[in-house]
Symmetry: none
Subunit: 220 residues, 2 copies
C-alpha cells in the first residue's frame, strides 16, 4: 500500500493512540511513526520519508514551533500540520511562520482531521474553522505584522526566548547553543528590545502570561 505516510508528535500517549486509531480508519492514510517530542520527531524525519507530520505545539524537550522550523528545513517536502489545544493568535502565527502547512485545534471532528491530513499532503492548507487558507501566504509574506507575543523575533531569537523563559543564564545558553557569550548577549538584548521587556525576569512572566510555556515545561 502507498498511503499518506504520517507521523504523530504529541507528548500524550493516550492522544497518540487515539489519533492513530482515528487516522488508520481512513485507508488513504498510513501512520508510520509516533513520538512524544520534537527532538525525536526530527530524528525520524532525518531517517524516513514522511508526507505529513501531525504536531502538537506544547511539548517537553523541544516545542512544536522549533521542531517545525527544523523539519521544514531538513525535509521541505514534508508537510507539518499543527494540532493543538490553543488557537492563540501568536502561536498560529509562530507556527505558520515556522513553516506549518496547517493549524487545527483539538476540538476538530475526527473525519475532518483525516481530511485535513489528506489536504496538506496534496499541497493545500488546512486551518481551523473560520481561518481562510489565504491567510497563510498573507502572514508569510507581510514583512512585519506586529502580533505581539513573539512576533518580530527571528528564529534564533525565538530560540533564545525559549531558553530565557526556562530560566537559563547567558552562560548556559552559550553552552547549549555553542555560541560566544557576546553573541548570546546580543540576542538577549534583541529579544528584550523587540518585546519591550525590561529584563529576563519579565521575559519569564511574558512567556507564562501568554501561554508560550506551560506547566511541566520545567527548567530541567
Amino acid at each position: 500500500m502507498s498511503g499518506i505516510r504520517v507521523m504523530l508528535v504529541d507528548d500524550q500517549e493516550l492522544l497518540r493512540a487515539s489519533l492513530r486509531t482515528v487516522l488508520s480508519a481512513d485507508e488513504r492514510i498510513e501512520v508510520t511513526h509516533d513520538v512524544a517530542n520534537g527532538g525525536d520527531a526530527i530524528e525520524v524525519v532525518r531517517r524516513y520519508r514522511l508526507d505529513v507530520v501531525l504536531m502538537d505545539i506544547r511539548m517537553p524537550r523541544m516545542d512544536g514551533v522549533a521542531a517545525t522550523a527544523e523539519i521544514v528545513r531538513i525535509a521541505p517536502a514534508t508537510r507539518v500540520l499543527m494540532l493543538t489545544t490553543f488557537d492563540d493568535d501568536e502561536l498560529v502565527v509562530a507556527a505558520i511562520r515556522a513553516g506549518a502547512s496547517g493549524y487545527l485545534t483539538k476540538d476538530v471532528r475526527p473525519a475532518a482531521l483525516a481530511q485535513a491530513v489528506c489536504d496538506v499532503a496534496s499541497g493545500t492548507s488546512a486551518l481551523a474553522p473560520g481561518v481562510a487558507a489565504t491567510v497563510l501566504d498573507l502572514v508569510r509574506q507581510v514583512p512585519m505584522r506586529r502580533t505581539a507575543a513573539l512576533d518580530g523575533l527571528t528564529p534564533r531569537e525565538v530560540e533564545i526566548f525559549g531558553l530565557l523563559a526556562r530560566g537559563r543564564s547567558n552562560s548556559e545558553i552559550c553552552a547549549e547553543l555553542v555560541l560566544s557569550e557576546n553573541t548570546v548577549k546580543s540576542h538577549v538584548r534583541a529579544v528584550l528590545q523587540k518585546l519591550n521587556l525590561r529584563d529576563r525576569v519579565h521575559v519569564v512572566i511574558h512567556a507564562y502570561e501568554n501561554g508560550l510555556v506551560g506547566r511541566n515545561d520545567l527548567p530541567d
Copy 2:
C-alpha cells in the same frame, strides 16, 4: 446491559470521541454521556444516575475542580475521576479536596484507564503511578498544609516572594515596602536559600509552575 455508567467531561471533542472508543471497548463500561464543560456536566448529574464522571481539570465556563465539588454535593454516589494533562501538586490537592476519587494524567495507557474507571466505580481509588490511595484521606484530613511551594518562609519573605514573582527589582521592592535596599537584599537572599532557587528568574518560574501566581496576575 448494566455496565458502569460513565460521563466524559472534556472540552476537546476529539479526545471525548477517542475516550468513548477506548472505554466502550471494555464491556464493563457504558459511556452514557459526554459534555464539553463543567456546567453541562452538572446538569446531566441532576437528571441521570451516573457511576463515574471522567473529568478534565482545564475547561472553559466552569473548571473541573468546581464542577467536581458540586457533583459530589448533589450526587454523593457518583465517583469523579480527574483526567488531566498536569500532575501539578496543587491541582491534585485541590481536586481531591473537592472530592475526586482519582487523578490520572493523560499519558495513561488506554487499558489502565478502563481499569481505573472500574476501580473507582467499585469504591476504590485511582491515582497516577506512584501515588498511594492512602494519600487521599491524608490530604482530606490534614487541615491546611502549606503545600511546600512556600514552606519555611516567614510572612515577610512570602511578601517579598510575591513581589519577586511579579518581576519587581530590588529597588522597586524597597520603594513599595519602604525598606532599605540592603534589607530587601537580605530577604531576597533568604527566599532564594529557603526555596533552593538560583536567582529571581527561577523564583518567577517556581511561582508559575506551582500556581502561586496565575494569568492576569500581571506585573502592572
